[in-house]
């Protein structure tokens, strides 16, 4: 599903990722752990081309990303890749000018281009699945952090991605809310959703199929549970 080969990334003079190679198989739940500043977030942000990199390559489901300055990927390919790779952010990043429902509809409507009615048919069941059907018309600032993150997960799911990247999804939440969000993520895992999760949660690492540990930009261990 995803193959990372000899990935190298610099930010200024700092080497953030220093030659990482790893594979994520279809249906696999991979946890990425390690100390802060180890390159975890940067790694997954490279996976959906939010960040360019300077060496190595990434292959996602037949689309390959090259190092900056080599072959340029066509725009259409890039958009296709991003639709295959969903992402959930630490700070939720819901669109504040849209209701919860509109947030979930935004991917189908503006990325895929389905009609409003069609998008709503996709979005409502997803909101129900994350337990927020009754909050469909609330704006993000009327929702708790945990609720916002669950809407964000529904929003990522709405474009039916092959894999979802989670960037510390519970770090900005208090324990109870974190538990709500974690329950949703574990539920997805049960259904066979391929996921890459950057996390500090030991509870989650116990349930992941594979735990990759990053330190100072290097992959120091990959342990299968």
């Amino acid at each position: 599903m995803i193959t990372v080969t000899e990935l190298r990334k610099k930010r200024g003079a700092n080497t953030v990722i220093d030659g990482i190679s790893l594979t994520i198989r279809k249906g696999e739940v991979a946890a990425i752990v390690g100390p802060s500043g180890g390159g975890k977030s940067t790694l997954i942000r490279c996976l959906n081309a939010l960040e360019p990199f300077q060496g190595g390559r990434i292959d996602v489901d037949g689309v390959s990303l090259q190092a900056e300055g080599t072959a340029k990927i066509p725009k259409a390919t890039l958009l296709a890749l991003r639709r295959k790779v969903g992402m959930v952010f630490q700070q939720f990043n819901l669109f504040p000018h849209m209701t919860a429902l509109e947030n979930v509809m935004s991917g189908p409507r503006f990325s895929i281009g389905v009609s409003r009615a069609e998008a709503e048919k996709i979005a409502r069941p997803l909101l129900e699945r994350v337990g927020l059907a009754q909050k469909a018309d609330s704006k993000p600032d009327q929702l708790s952090g945990g609720q916002q993150q669950r809407v964000a997960i529904a929003r990522a799911l709405a474009v039916s991605p092959s894999v979802i990247l989670f960037d510390e999804p519970t770090s900005a939440l208090d324990p109870q809310m974190a538990a709500e969000v974690m329950a949703v993520i574990l539920d997805l895992a049960k259904e066979g959703q391929t996921m890459v999760v950057v996390t500090h949660s030991t509870e989650f690492t116990k349930r992941a199929h594979v735990v990759h540990t990053l330190e100072r930009g290097r992959l120091v261990s990959s342990v299968s549970n």
């Binding site: 296709a80 790779v85 992402m87 952010f89 935004s106």
Partner: protein
């Protein structure tokens, strides 16, 4: 304390500028006010010769006679009397007509020139052959340009106001340009010196004078009431110049000596100033109604409506343009960024007044040079549209900066979230970034709208009669001017004040929203 005054010390060499020249004694210069923009043959500059023109030479002659070196002071033509009243000049000498109602405030000398009003049309115009042709019923009213605040403006409004559109203009030169173009003006009425010098003198071959001269009037020198002695000296000098043939010599140089001027001596020995009953036959007119604010109510309402229309049409355009420019500068490829940065900086770094002149007068002329009348006709839109265009373009630069700041204020995660969902960058900007920026910029945009509302006054320079333009047109009426200024000021205030209250409320509400 010391530090605060140190800079003042450095200014002392300039302090003598503040000392009134009159205090310097007998040889105080004779400061005479005029407007070079009025151009030939009155006073204008010629390379190598400096200031020339029949009035410049007259001023030189008067200076010699009065033993005071003449010193020209540049004024706005329609503000020359005001400048005289302020004390910045000693005499007003620039094609100022004798007006009985002006005598009390600005006593005049005996006349130095007899002028008539001349009707000037495009050389190819066959429809307007006489003054009577102006009154013929037409589908569209004829547009006739007159110098703002001149007697010609009043004459045309009083005698033809119902049949034609009287368009007050700022300069003779630009009025001639418009009649040459024909798209935006059909005819103009000017004083005889301009008509004979430019049109009959062959300098403007695309124009012709039609019909007989209308209304005979006098150019006089205006002074301040207290300067009795100065008036006496000037009158003596003027009679002398007429008797000795000096005046004839000067006027002949500019092709201005005619049978009217031959009667100057006769007019000069008659009692002066003339009273209304004592006017010579040629100047007899129907008694004029007195202008009042109530009488102008219709015109004021129309002008206010024009101001509102200009502001309300220009602002949405400015916002739309500014938004596109901001997006281009933020997300476009680098050549576009360079072009748009230049666009913003040029528009922000040059005065809107100058820009308006460029759009209205310069671009059409330029296009005529490049591509002839065909091309020029594309650029000679009606003043109203040019006004909206000029305002919108100028304000688009400010709106572009607002939107750029607004877009930059949006957290980085918003764009990333949109891209991560697979939106194209353009879609992300349109659906995610701009709607959020729109809210952020509401307060500054409202403030800009207030500024634009007031800047519509610039349009008075390009033949649009909005509130400020109306003021310029009627400020010659010394009794009305104060009320008119007050009325117009209050209208501006009544519209802009609620807007500024709205802006500060929006600002408060939105900043509260940001903390919630």
């Amino acid at each position: 304390m010391n530090a605060a005054f140190r800079w003042l010390h450095q200014l002392t060499p300039f302090l003598f500028l503040l000392v009134p020249n009159a205090a310097l004694g007998q040889d105080a210069p004779l400061r005479w006010g005029g407007d070079k923009a009025g151009g030939a043959p009155f006073i204008y500059e010629e390379p190598g010769k400096g200031d020339v023109g029949f009035e410049a030479e007259l001023a030189a002659f008067l200076g010699k006679k009065l033993n005071r070196p003449p010193k020209f002071v540049q004024c706005d033509w329609d503000a020359i009397p005001d400048t005289l009243q302020r004390g910045n000049i000693d005499i007003a000498l620039n094609g100022l007509e004798f007006l009985a109602e002006r005598e009390a405030e600005f006593p005049s000398t005996i006349p130095y020139f007899v002028y008539t009003l001349r009707l000037i049309v495009n050389a190819n115009d066959e429809a307007i052959r006489t003054w009577e042709d102006l009154k013929k019923p037409r589908e569209k009213k004829l547009r006739v340009g007159v110098l703002r605040g001149s007697f010609a403006q009043r004459y045309m409004e009083d005698n033809f106001g119902k049949d034609i559109m009287v368009i007050p203009t700022k300069e003779v030169d630009e009025t001639f340009q418009l009649v040459e173009e024909r798209e935006r003006m059909d005819a103009t009425v000017q004083d005889s010196p301009a008509a004979s010098y430019y049109v009959q003198g062959g300098l403007r071959p695309k124009l012709k004078v039609v019909g007989p001269p209308a209304h005979t009037g006098f150019y006089v020198i205006l002074t301040n009431p207290k300067d009795v002695e100065l008036r006496k000296q000037l009158n003596e000098a003027l009679s002398q110049a007429t008797a000795s043939g000096e005046l004839e010599k000067i006027y002949k140089k500019y092709g201005l000596w005619d049978t009217d001027q031959e009667r100057l001596a006769y007019h000069q020995i008659r009692p002066w100033p003339k009273t209304a009953e004592e006017k010579p036959d040629e100047t007899k007119e129907a008694p004029k109604e007195h202008l009042t604010i109530a009488g102008l109510a219709d015109k004021i309402a129309l002008a206010a409506w024009m101001t509102v229309k200009l502001a309300c049409c220009a602002m949405p355009l400015a916002i739309l343009l500014g938004m596109l420019v901001a997006v281009g500068r933020m997300y476009g490829p680098w050549p576009l960024k360079v072009v748009l940065t230049a666009y913003v900086e040029v528009l922000r770094g040059t005065p809107i007044l100058l820009q308006m002149y460029v759009w209205f007068f310069l671009i059409p002329s330029l296009m005529r040079i490049i591509g002839g009348d065909e091309l020029a006709s594309w650029f000679t839109a009606a003043p109203f549209y040019v006004g909206i265009f000029g305002l919108a373009i100028n304000y688009s630069a400010a709106e572009a900066e607002n939107y750029r700041a607004g877009l930059q204020a949006i957290p980085k995660g918003q764009m990333e979230a949109a891209l991560a969902l697979g939106m194209s960058p353009m879609t992300a900007v349109r659906r995610i970034m701009l709607p959020q920026a729109f809210r952020i910029v509401i307060p500054p945009v409202t403030n800009d709208f207030i500024a634009l509302f007031k800047d519509t006054s610039i349009c008075s320079m390009i033949l649009i009669t909005e509130l400020t333009g109306l003021y310029y047109q009627y400020k010659y009426d010394r009794e009305l001017v104060l009320q008119l200024a007050l009325t117009i000021g209050l209208i501006y205030l009544f519209i802009s004040y609620p807007l500024s209250v709205l802006a500060s409320r929006l600002e408060k509400r939105l900043s509260r929203g940001a903390h919630a």
